[in-house]
């Protein structure tokens, strides 16, 4: 694999990996919101 191809792959993994991390945090927030909605008593 050439250096150029490796750079492209690394950049892709960095962007997608970071997006996946943010998406996971978003999912956590969504699940919290759903739990609050489910148990809403106030």
């Amino acid at each position: 694999m050439t250096f150029a191809r490796l750079t492209g792959l690394a950049l892709r993994c960095l962007v997608l990996g970071s997006l996946l991390f943010v998406a996971l945090l978003g999912l956590v927030e969504l699940s919290t919101a759903m739990r609050i909605f489910r148990y809403q008593a106030f």
């Binding site: 694999m1 050439t2 150029a4 191809r5 490796l6 750079t7 492209g8 792959l9 690394a10 950049l11 892709r12 993994c13 960095l14 997608l16 990996g17 970071s18 996946l20 991390f21 996971l24 945090l25 956590v28 927030e29 699940s31 919290t32 739990r35 609050i36 489910r38 148990y39 809403q40 008593a41 106030f42």
Partner: protein, 360 residues
């Protein structure tokens, strides 16, 4: 150059077997980094961070963690209670100034008051008193504290207001038939929901920006009156409608929290403080019989356990003009009067503690 870009594009967008593993590896690195950086100690170092005067949850979590890790064992004053008590007290700096004027030496104040505090949240907070704590705990109480059903308490826990681990709180959950959230022992993973809710704080936390403590006596709005106030009283009456059903269980939870605290503290004086009440609405913001029963129960509870029970309303400390509504003080002069009244009542205990400390 053209070959470089073609190859680069091929790596960035072309089908590659390694990309999935690489993506997952990067995600894992982010998670590990977050787990390493965002620890209880990290939040404790930013113990006064808050977005604004109403941002209690972040502040209380950070302050409770800072409290847990503090090493200073000089007698101090901790205040715990709901919004009515929170707004009746001066800010910690002002509170400390009043204490110093009365006692002639500095006494630190730890403010752990938060809107809508529940008995399970008290359980969480008592686990964050440092081992060997010495001083006075002011515990603001009122019918509201005793009016939560287990289901309401559990619902409040689902809001994830605090990022705090607590055995005492978990014990209360189990007693009520609920299973506490599983723990990995890694703060970031165990409290990720709470930490996500802090996203507006992240830049400031990471930059270790200057600490702020909000000034809380900026009047929020004109006082409630007329139909608006009647509607508010009706809402409070509705909130207290389970009081007779829940008060015994609430007091039992409070008892367990106090017992846990006593087992870990040195010289500790717990002072129950009746939440301030607008004299014009006494009895109108509670269902019939609740207030009389609350005073009977609370006076007996305090007497049986040898705890002082301070009642500002009975002593005529407060006036209708001090209040925003039925229970929240918004006049700074009134908060100063109320805080000074409390300081005068707890000063003898603090003096005794300081004498025994200097005698050691």
């Amino acid at each position: 150059m053209r070959t470089f870009f073609r190859e680069f594009r091929e790596g960035a967008f072309g089908p590659t077997r390694g990309s999935l593993a690489g993506t997952l590896a990067v995600t894992l690195v982010w998670i590990v980094l977050a787990a390493v950086i965002v620890t209880p100690e990290f939040l404790a170092e930013n113990s006064a961070v808050a977005l604004n005067a109403r941002d209690d949850n972040t502040r209380i979590t950070a302050r409770a963690l800072a409290f847990r890790y503090s090493r200073d064992r000089a007698p101090m004053v901790a205040a715990m209670g709901a919004s009515g008590f929170r707004m009746a007290l001066m800010s910690p700096d002002e509170f400390e100034a009043i204490l110093e004027a009365r006692l002639g030496r500095p006494i630190e104040v730890m403010d752990l008051t938060v809107g809508g505090l529940t008995v399970w949240e008290i359980a969480s907070l008592v686990d964050h008193f440092p081992d060997g704590f010495e001083g006075v705990l002011l515990l603001g109480v009122g019918p509201g504290l005793l009016s939560y059903k287990a289901r309401d308490l559990y619902a409040r826990e689902q809001e994830i207001r605090f990022g705090l681990d607590s055995e005492t709180r978990d014990d209360e959950l189990r007693r009520a038939g609920y299973e506490p959230a599983p723990s990995t022992g890694i703060y970031f993973l165990d409290h990720v929901s709470f930490l996500v809710s802090l996203r507006q704080h992240w830049p400031r936390l990471l930059a270790r920006a200057e600490r702020i403590y909000p000034w809380r006596f900026k009047p929020w709005r004109r006082p409630y009156a007329g139909a608006e106030m009647e509607a508010r009283c009706a809402m409070i009456r509705e909130r207290l409608s389970d009081y007779f059903e829940t008060r015994e269980a609430s007091l039992a939870s409070l008892d367990r929290a106090i017992a846990r605290l006593r087992s870990r503290c040195g010289s500790l004086e717990i002072v129950l403080v009746d939440n301030p009440r607008n004299p014009a609405y006494v009895g109108r913001a509670q269902p019939p019989g609740v207030l009389d029963d609350y005073f009977d129960v609370m006076r007996r509870y305090a007497a049986e356990r040898g705890l002082p029970f301070l009642e500002a309303n009975s002593e005529g400390i407060l006036r209708t003009g001090d209040f925003l509504d039925e229970c929240h003080i918004q006049e700074m002069a009134a908060a100063r009067r109320y805080t000074t009244w409390i300081v005068n009542r707890i000063a003898p205990a603090l003096e005794r503690m300081s004498e025994s400390e200097s005698g050691r």
